[in-house]
């Protein structure tokens, strides 16, 4: 493995630690980890230099991210994953998180990055895996796959859009857009 690749993996591990550290609870699934960091890469495109999201059966997906989430190289005991894919920081990981935050505490961009991560977790973790994939496919058509055809079928789309609207997590106009006959994603 080339040294620069190792550097990239370390950065990915740090992003995982930061994302886990901003809220004192586990990330609910591997899919949430993938999609939350995908959204983060849309918010901060510099992240795309380190995490490459490719079109996958389950939408945007990073192989490197999946690998280091299971087998971290640089911070081997910082986080854990259970059989259901829930991820959480260990006490060692919390120490690493605190150290990174302390080191960059004067950096305004870094503080904002933590805020962005917290907001992403707060809102995206209100979604079930299916709702999460549905909204990602609906919003980013370039990542659609065979699974997206099923989730975006008229019947399934109506069911999921209604569930999301009832939860108050999409607006009425977004709901109407998602169930609309001219729907083509945004």
């Amino acid at each position: 493995m080339k040294p620069e690749e190792l550097g990239e993996l370390e950065i990915i591990e740090r992003y995982i630690i930061l994302l886990l550290g901003v809220l004192n609870r586990p990330i609910p699934s591997r899919e949430h980890l993938q999609k939350e960091l995908f959204i983060l890469s849309r918010v901060n495109p510099k992240i795309s230099k380190y995490i490459t999201f490719e079109k996958h059966y389950e939408g945007p997906y990073s192989v490197d991210l999946a690998e280091v989430a299971e087998n971290p190289l640089y911070y081997p005991e910082a986080f854990q994953v259970d059989k259901n894919g829930r991820l959480w920081l260990t006490s060692k990981g919390k120490g690493i998180y605190d150290e990174i935050v302390r080191r960059y505490s004067e950096d305004k961009g870094f503080k904002e990055l933590l805020g962005v991560m917290k907001m992403i977790r707060e809102v995206y973790e209100r979604l079930s895996k299916e709702e999460l994939l549905f909204l990602i496919y609906a919003t980013y058509p370039e990542y659609r796959s065979a699974l997206s055809d099923e989730l975006l079928s008229t019947e399934k789309r109506r069911y999921l859009a209604e569930a999301l609207f009832k939860k108050g997590i999409i607006t009425r106009k977004r709901y109407e857009e998602l169930i609309g006959s001219d729907y083509g994603g945004s």
């Binding site: 805020g115 919003t139 945004s186």
Partner: protein, 181 residues
Amino acid sequence: MITVVPDSSFYICFIDDISKPEYLIKLLNHPSFRFVTGQKIKEEITRSPNYHAVEKYIDDYVDYFEYYNYSEILRPFFSLEEIRKGEHEVIAISYILYILEATFIAILDEDSAREFIKRNFPQLWKMGRVMGTVGFIKLCCCIYHIFLKEEAVSVLELIKRSKFRIKRADVDRIIEKVKRC
């Protein structure tokens, strides 16, 4: 100083709907406030045919929240029309200001955007810093004394008769409050 994050309809209200850019300029350069905007909101207000009347003041007095593409955070939850107007960007920027412990006011005129905050970020809603354009005008009159009562009532009457999307009864309610404050 209070950071103010308005949606695009706030700017459009003064520039196009009531054609009184001078009131907007008065707010933008008032020392009590620091106005901030994001990419989507800015894009929408620059589409106004009368943008030139305020361009210099927006360049001089409105800070650009520029580190990240904040509008991407909530994009999946809003319609294309709402995204174009930048309502979701106001929510994202307000949340970051909340995390940074800044004192801020979010101006959101769409009920759907306010409902979204209420349901998904109750901590923001409970702070009582989310209001509409007319509510902000009342605040500028009754608390900050930037507008005289007559001035505020005159602006609100213009808004009531304009194409700005708000129920007349809601504006009347605010007018009464301004008269009594």
